[in-house]
Each structure stands twice: as structure tokens, then as C-alpha cells.
């Protein structure tokens, strides 16, 4: 049976018992996409350029930690937990070099084919949305970015965050309400 048709557990056992490189390559192929999307959702727009490096670090960490995987949880759940924690650490380090976008830069970026004032207001409001999002709890931020930015389905978000789908809906609802209040405090109304 080809490796692509084998279950995760079999591939993990091959990696652990026979250091099978092809088995690990198959696991990387299976999980690279979801891990990358989860990492992007945690890092956010400001640090998206680091996402591929962080996703690589996650895969290397998984390879190193495979001997400690006991199989209490599903392999995917274990992988996403490692990815979530690794991305949080990377984000904490990256915050020290957060770029600041001034109003001048925003004004220069304003499109010329629409009313510049209206467009500037819109750009400022969008920036305020992104800024306020950074003050939300990490799981809310991740759920919002997966849903609105990466177009992930409820079931995909539920799998990546290891929560039921109803909890994802609740995260999104509460995050929108919190954002609405935070934006109103800054003088922006939805």
C-alpha cells in the first residue's frame, strides 16, 4: 500500500521505529497546508512574511518530538498544538520589531480614483480594525483571521483550534461584539 494511503498512526510508527524519511515526508505533505494556515492566523498580517519559516520550525520540532508522542490524542491535534504554541512564541519575538505605518504613508497609499478623504477614512478604519484585533484573546484572533482572511470553513477552524464547531461560532460572535465596542471607543462605528 503506498504511503499516501496509510493512516497517520502507521506513518508515525515508521518514523519512530525505523527513522523512515519517506514516512515523515508524507506527514509533512499532509500537514504543511493546515499548519501554515494556523501559523498565518496567529501571526496576522503584520508578521505574515515569517509564516513559512515558523511553519518549517514547527515541522522540525515535530520531527524532534515524535519519540515523545504517546498517542493519547490524535496525531493532528498534537501537531496543531505544537504549531499554535510555536507561532505564539514567534509572534512574541516578532513584536519587538513591529513596523509602524504613519498617516503620511497611508495618505500616499490612498487610491486616486476615489474621493481621497473617504478612502483615507476607510483605510484608517481598516487599520483600527486590525489594531483592535491584536488586543483580542489569541484564539479569537486566530478564528477571525482563519474565517475572514483565509476563508476557512467552520469545521476547518474547529479542527485547527481543537474545539467544537459551535465554540468557533461563539468565538466569532464574541470577537465581533468586542471589536465593535473597541472600535466605538476609538470613534469608529460599524
Amino acid at each position: 500500500m503506498p504511503y499516501a494511503e496509510r493512516p497517520d498512526e502507521w506513518l508515525v510508527a515508521r518514523c519512530r521505529e525505523a527513522a523512515d524519511e519517506a514516512a515523515f515526508a508524507e506527514l509533512v505533505t499532509r500537514y504543511r497546508g493546515p499548519v501554515f494556515r494556523l501559523v498565518v492566523s496567529i501571526l496576522g498580517q503584520a508578521f505574515a512574511a515569517d509564516a513559512e519559516d515558523v511553519a518549517q520550525d514547527v515541522m522540525v520540532r515535530i520531527h524532534q518530538a515524535l519519540p515523545t508522542f504517546r498517542g493519547d490524542a490524535k496525531f493532528g491535534t498534537w501537531v496543531y498544538r505544537i504549531a499554535f504554541n510555536q507561532a505564539l512564541n514567534a509572534k512574541a519575538r516578532a513584536r519587538f520589531r513591529v513596523p509602524h505605518v504613519g498617516d503620511e504613508a497611508l495618505e500616499q497609499a490612498v487610491s486616486r480614483d476615489r474621493d481621497p478623504h473617504e478612502r483615507l477614512q476607510e483605510t484608517r478604519r481598516d487599520r483600527a480594525v486590525v489594531d483592535c484585533m491584536n488586543d483580542l484573546p489569541e484564539v479569537y484572533q486566530s478564528a477571525l483571521r482563519l474565517h475572514y482572511w483565509l476563508g476557512a470553513s467552520m469545521s476547518e477552524i474547529a479542527t485547527l483550534l481543537d474545539v467544537p464547531e459551535n465554540t468557533v461560532k461563539s468565538y466569532l460572535h464574541r470577537a465581533r461584539r468586542l471589536l465593535s465596542v473597541m472600535l466605538a471607543e476609538r470613534g469608529f462605528h460599524a
Binding site: 524519511e21 515523515f24 515526508a25 509533512v28 505533505t29 504543511r32 497546508g33 501554515f36 498565518v40 498580517q45 505574515a48 512574511a49 509564516a51 513559512e52 511553519a55 518549517q56 520550525d57 515541522m59 522540525v60 520531527h63 524532534q64 476607510e122 478604519r125 481598516d126 480594525v129 486590525v130 477571525l144 483571521r145 475572514y148 482572511w149 483565509l150 476563508g151 460572535h173 465581533r176 461584539r177 471589536l179 465593535s180 472600535l183 460599524a190
Partner: protein
């Protein structure tokens, strides 16, 4: 509900930027990082020659000493080299 719908539209607008994509080289890069590093044939020859010269120099510099002291000296040197190598490897793996 009206407020929730408005926030929904606002979020769609604020996050309309194109999402980053994974490069095609991702898997190759990961496999390169997890693959045990092996020396090339030339590297292996260099290491063997280096070890032989180092051993010969050590024995020559300890030529007046008794055999037991020489053995202790060589063993201690090898232990320090192995410890340093393991430490450097640990630093490189980021643990």
C-alpha cells in the same frame, strides 16, 4: 444582530488582502533540515587525516610520560571534544 452583520462586512473589508501562500520549496527545505548531516567523502578523509595528525602530535608531545598518563591525557582530550561537539549540535538545533 444588525451590529453583528455590520461588523461582519467591516471585517471582510479590512481583511480583503491576499493571503500568503506556501512556497513549493517548503517540503524540500524541511526534509533538508531534519535529515542527519553526513560528511562528503572529501570531508571524511580530511577528518581522518586531522585526527591522525592530532593523535600523533599528542603522543609526540607526551613522549617522556608513562603510558597510563598518556592514556588519561588522550581520553580526557577526546571527552572534552565530544562534549563540545554535542553542545554545539544542541545550540544549532535550538533546544
Amino acid at each position: 444582530m444588525h451590529d453583528d452583520d455590520a461588523m461582519d462586512r467591516l471585517l471582510r473589508g479590512a481583511m480583503a488582502a491576499e493571503a500568503p501562500r506556501l512556497s513549493h520549496a517548503f517540503e524540500t527545505a524541511v526534509m533538508r533540515r531534519v535529515r542527519p548531516r553526513r560528511l562528503s567523502a572529501r570531508g571524511r578523509v580530511t577528518m581522518v587525516v586531522y585526527a591522525a595528525v592530532a593523535l600523533a602530535l599528542s603522543v609526540w608531545s607526551m613522549r617522556g610520560l608513562d603510558l597510563r598518563t598518556m592514556a588519561v591525557g588522550v581520553t580526557a582530550g577526546l571527552a572534552i571534544a565530544a562534549g563540545a561537539s554535542a553542545y554545539v549540535r544542541r545550540l544549532a538545533s535550538g533546544d
